[in-house]
Subunit: 407 residues, 4 copies
């Protein structure tokens, strides 16, 4: 009789079942840095538009690890030698790739901890975990940093067609209910191969890549850059900036213990490197801190802070105008004057509530997906498709927006 399953099988609505194959991954999943990802939503406030999109970064990390396992299996079946250590390390690397994400994924980066990218924090966290794991993460970190000779392993972690992307596109499509954004990751993975030490897609997978490009584009415009989602995200950034601003002027305001230091001190990359405690504090921060703070701030006497907080909590989202051309200074001014007239706000206040900016998307970064022909030739997808032209694929679509309170 074989031993019974030891909870290493995880039910997943997207893939059915996920088997955690490597003991290292199993141990990593138990670490509190990874557990924290359960409290970081993958798509921030997108669930304000797509109520199902409430999945978190933990689930995504596990999903990406599953796809990594699948991809490695496919490559091995095609004769690519991949050692057990390499497989384990690649799986660990993808499991940890997002570990440095802060609350609501990106909200903090543009507001209270400026200049510190989640990638930096990921790197710091990984080294700290590596110490705790007695060096078991060495190879994973090398692969993550593209510092390992067999570079195709890094490409599976991070590239135009990495397992991160395949999982998040599929998962975001699934949870948001935007079924059209579904990416056929299983077929794409079956078409992968390695040539000249890089990940390539076999010729007959070319239509799947076309579909992937279009599905990705659809997800961008329909979900990630959806106007209402944008509005909510900018409001989140504005409220955090306002809070930080008030805090820096000594205005008292509620904060959870985890949030406090980030609100009251100006921290940058150097601080994270110099003081290990800051990372520790960061590792206790998640969506719930921001939510609790905003709920409390609804009652704050600063009108900008309370107005923004209440608007987000009660989902009274700002109007957002999107267009091809930038907004002129006068248009922004007109908008602010309206606020002054309607609500008697000061110029300073309205400047914190009216926001312009731009977003852009590119169907394909120009290069990075390699097609392998039966002849052995390798061409970039931009050259390989008879449906898309390189110019078109690389065209960057930019939209300008103006965001302000309704009425």
């Amino acid at each position: 009789m074989g031993p019974q399953n030891k909870h290493k099988i995880i039910n997943d609505p997207v893939y059915g079942f996920i088997t955690v194959r490597h003991a290292l991954c199993f141990d990593l999943m138990d670490h509190r840095y990874v557990q924290r990802l359960r409290r970081i939503s993958q798509l921030g406030l997108s669930h304000y538009v797509y109520p199902g999109a409430v999945h978190n970064r933990f689930h995504h990390a596990v999903g990406a690890m599953h796809l990594m396992q699948e991809a490695l299996d496919v490559l091995r079946e095609k004769g690519i030698a991949i050692s057990r250590e390499e497989a384990e390390a690649a799986c660990a690397a993808i499991l940890l790739h997002d570990i440095g994400h802060g609350p609501f994924s990106h909200a903090l980066e543009h507001s209270i901890v400026r200049g510190v990218h989640h990638e930096d924090i990921s790197t710091l966290m990984m080294s700290r975990m590596n110490e705790a794991f007695g060096g078991r993460l060495d190879l994973a970190i090398r692969i993550f940093n593209d510092d390992y000779p067999r570079r195709f392993l890094h490409a599976l972690v991070s590239s135009q067609l990495d397992m991160d992307r395949l999982d998040y596109l599929g998962r975001d499509s699934f949870y948001s209910g935007v079924a059209e954004g579904k990416v056929g990751s299983d077929r794409i993975i079956k078409m992968l191969n390695v040539a000249e030490d890089q990940i390539v897609v076999e010729e007959k997978g070319i239509y799947s890549i076309e579909k992937f490009i279009v599905a990705r584009r659809l997800m961008y415009w329909q979900v990630y850059l959806h106007r209402t989602v944008l509005s909510a995200e900018y409001m989140l950034m504005l409220v955090l900036r306002r809070a930080k601003d008030l805090a820096s002027h000594g205005v008292p305001l509620f904060s959870t213990p985890a949030l406090s230091i980030f609100l009251h001190e100006a921290l940058d990359r150097a601080h994270f490197l110099a003081d290990p405690d800051i990372l520790e504090r960061f590792s206790e921060l998640d969506d719930s801190d921001i939510l609790c703070a905003m709920k409390a701030w609804q009652h704050h006497e600063d009108r900008v802070l309370s107005f923004l907080s209440r608007s987000i909590v009660e989902r009274r989202l700002f109007r957002i105008e999107l267009r091809d051309a930038p907004f002129a200074e006068e248009e922004v001014d007109r908008c602010r004057r309206m606020l002054t007239e309607t609500w008697g706000m000061s110029v300073e206040e309205t400047s914190k509530l009216v926001h312009t900016g731009q977003i852009s998307n590119q169907a394909y970064a120009g290069s990075g997906i390699h097609i392998l022909y039966k002849t052995g030739e390798i061409r970039d997808f931009a050259q390989a498709s008879d449906h898309f032209t390189p110019e078109l694929l690389q065209r960057k679509v930019t939209k300008h927006f103006l965001c302000y309170p309704k009425n």
Copy 2:
């Protein structure tokens, strides 16, 4: 040219698209009481076992409203007269049916606001909303309270086969990835009819009901009463009880503004009725308050509080033993002594960490699902099935458990 869609279509991973047909429902969804449900997870900490099960009560409420619309359509097609007002009210009633749920759905009920059921709070909230809506909820409330002559409408809101149940079973199965728990709600709804003012299932739907019973049972044992889920839920109850206990003894401990009053005061149903402000405070409470509190309590000097908090936050769940017979006092004592010996805890401390209790489930409450035969006869499902016997269906399966820290 017809008018373009006005955002009244909601993407839903479970049903594809949900159309919000009634303006009243649309307006209700914008109310902060309903928006709050976005921050209340449907399945509490079940996502510790099923990482996909992170859906919230808002989504469930909208889903149940969708099924109500479907059911009313089916009944109308079969010639049951249902006025526009009745349809609107039934949809509003199901949309609001869960509005009184507190954080993590049930955690508070058994810990800090004892004796106040979420149904009580739902009723209070509905009347308050009705005032704000100028009486537009009158009929919805009558239907909700089974105070409207056409009682089949209430049965669609609350009965053995209501739209609440059909949605949550389906949705919980979907999000948890326990595909076997899937209930064929679309077919069941197509088989509904009204006879003698009650909801009946047409004869040929009998196998669908059998399947519903078994799927429901499977969801109970595999998800709702999953041992690890139980463990997490009991730990949550223990930590809140401990915090309340400490607060009542004047021990200072972190709290968010929304949680504070419930932690520091002994509130019961009478308080809610007497002081409108308490309901208002409750309406600001959600999962994030509990999460932030526990994260802060990890560092509290009370060992029981900090141990429980850290264990939950880091997902170091207690061991749980399940069996048919109750646990004897000695078994519990032995378990506590072990804690004393291992960690040097006091008797008082160990008594807060070791917990016994029982859970039970019944496949079918004994009656309530009516089968309509072609002859016009109506029989209860327990009598109608040739596969199940009434005794079996009504048999209550009870399990006893003992829950305590690992190691």
Copy 3:
């Protein structure tokens, strides 16, 4: 660079992709005996009720082979040693398990080749293929015939919980659109293990088995024994019997070359064994022969033959009455007299058009699914479930029917 895929991956709507792992299976699939299964529908005329149910036995055979591969993987992961030869043979055995099925799966058995079961023909065909394959099928045939010491391999091919059943239940549910009949084969397979040389299901899979039993029951009553499906199947049997009867009396009637010998000669098992050519003729017979014959027979002068043929071809199905008690002789007579009166048919003619019989179904054959407890104990499912009683599971539900032309 690894070699590119060699068409060994098959798209399957049910499982996504099927990989044919064993070269032997790949070769077997090319054999004309196996290719013939493409022209044998899995569910006969069920598509008259469920228009999607048009899948054929070839697809089922490939699907069952896929599940076998999955099951063997699971067992190996649990430490059960299975050699490459055994795996290949088990896959080959399941791929060929239905090879002897005639047109419309069962139509012939009860009409023109009485006394020859499809299992007999399967055995004959396998030995003939084994000759052609130079003995490569030896082990597969031993496993198929339960003539190999490691009996769990046979159980995967043929038992209460074999891969045949798991595939056909899932596939029939999928294609018919009877979503409620869906069986969670992936979870059941993950729960399989081997103990005491038999296939067992691990304890925590017990609810999945309950669900399997109920889904199977639902498929029986809703699809396999659906009254309209039954009617069509009995009409098919009647028309073939009539044709055979006429042929035996020397009445000329159209036949395709493949059908001819079976229509004009009384063949039994002994003939198949004695004359190899008969098997060869049988191997050219499929659904299309019956369809073409009936289309031609619509214009035959024999009223019974033409009436039955036209009724089937144009889908004017006979009425069928189902009930618990048998039909009395008088009821049948009354029915026949009505035909005589309405259409002026002779007694002999009406006797060929009015048909009685009975069908029955049992939720569970009484024993055969073994549950393995964590303690190592093995119990039969009938004893293991706390939801079903053995009596109930073994209860045979029998229905009697009377089938006759409408109007």
Copy 4:
């Protein structure tokens, strides 16, 4: 109590349930012309590559009717007045749109009944049915022929974005298991509107149309023009041409009664118009006649006929070479000479087995899908997309092929 369902609900694996709303459609479905479509496979021999793709034209017709019902609902909700008669007629028109298809959908058109398109036969059949139905099809026929003033109804039956296309792309993708080809018909339909009497897609549906174009393209190259599918289809055409040729020279060969006249006489459109009996004969012809004939022809003494027949029946498909440039005469000759040398075939024989041709596909016919902007402006999709250029969309991709026996 409302009346119970009267079998007007059809299970469909693609859409779940299909309700037949109009009595006329229900009656039409019972007509033997429509029933015949059950015996005509939707995708011919594609199941030789995609074993699941065995669905028939009947199912497709019913599915397209379902989408028509959905589309009319959406338009009515947007305020487009559509009378009950118009709705019924539009549904009837789409239900019958493919009624003139012959066996294997297109096999006959290019072989034995040259010059008679299935559209011609559809028109003839519809008028004959209209007679039988006492003129109840008048309006449906006008809509079908674009002879009704409200032209958007015709566009739903036949245009770049008609319900025919939406159903077959979705259904073919579903049954073939080529999940990437899935078209989001439900979302596209929700985005439909009517402006200036034409069907338009609302602005925010533009990404869905992009996805539709790409999915359609993928289905073309991956399924409809799959090299192995092409090979099988050309072989089918070759065998029928050979049989017709032999028949015209008086060589005796097996035929079913339904096929006989088409094999032995040179029939064109004029014959169909002149002799009503020919249509009647045609209406008895389906896939089974071709299958039975080929099975018999395997044993014919004409080597070309028997070789082709056996190759198709046993799925020994010809090799097909695809490339951008046409094949030169010498290449074809070389190929034929090889056959002569290997098998000793005559020049005449090899000329019947080696075949060249070309296939082409265009992502978008250049115009026909209209996008409606919020401003009221209407633009063709080719102009509206910022992702595709008109030139690219209209580019016709042509491939040349050479098809010949293996070895």
